[in-house]
């Protein structure tokens, strides 16, 4: 249990030690123009631990023989312990910086697939609401 608590304390310090330089990629020079990729980085992790009384007891193991009953009786006073965790990370390019003889500029990268999907959903949403309004108005006037 102490080891898990120590692990949690170390994990809690991770957000304080974030490396913000990971957002900007390595500059690449092509034909006199330097490109610097820029990304949005998201990551998260979580872990949990729980304990409870063991459900092994002498009354549950009467069928399993004397040896098993003896093992269960020694374990009956101990608490069961469980722990689990998960983590995930995502990096998405959002722009690139161009540095050339004409100056420095930022070019956005648009996720067209995500916008198209959102547009389709917005269309269905609008059609649904308009249909509901028309149905209400027609019901009231008839």
């Amino acid at each position: 249990m102490e080891a898990i608590k120590e692990l949690f304390e170390r994990l809690d310090k991770v957000p304080e030690e974030v490396n913000v330089n990971a957002v900007f990629g390595t500059p690449e020079t092509i034909d006199g123009i330097t490109l610097i990729p820029v990304a949005e980085i998201t990551y998260g992790f979580g872990a949990g631990v729980g304990s409870g009384p063991s459900n092994q007891g002498p009354e549950n193991d009467e069928c399993c023989g004397d040896e098993a009953a003896a093992d269960a009786s020694t374990a009956a006073g101990e608490a069961a312990l469980g722990a689990g965790g998960g983590a995930g990370a995502k990096a998405r390019p959002i722009a690139y910086i161009t540095v050339g003889p004409e100056g420095t500029s930022v070019q956005s990268i648009v996720d067209e697939q995500k916008i198209a999907l959102a547009g389709i959903l917005l269309g269905f949403w609008a059609i649904g609401w308009v249909g509901l309004v028309l149905k209400t108005l027609s019901t009231r006037h008839s």
């Binding site: 304390e9 913000v20 900007f24 610097i36 998260g44 956005s108 609008a126 609401w129 209400t136 009231r140």
Partner: protein, 104 residues
Amino acid sequence: MKLPEQRIRLVAADPIEVGTRRLLPSVLVNTASLQSPDEGTFNFVRLRPASIVVENEDNAEWIEIPNTTENILSTMAAAAAGIALVSSLIIAASLFLNSPREGR
């Protein structure tokens, strides 16, 4: 129930040297954490590039780094909320105006 603690910080990243220019990037760091040593821990970190300052030999220029995709999606979400609001108002007004009233 304990709520996650959220923090937003603007952090300067390491300068990038490109020829005679010096780029000073800044990053918006959004963290949310829930810390309970007895039960568990949860941490969420989001790093978003905010802007760069381009330093030349004689002047400096500030350039914002927009997140165009997120801006478009936010506009769409606002439009969806507006459609729902206006439609709800029309339906409510229709129900109110056509409801049988007392004394008539």
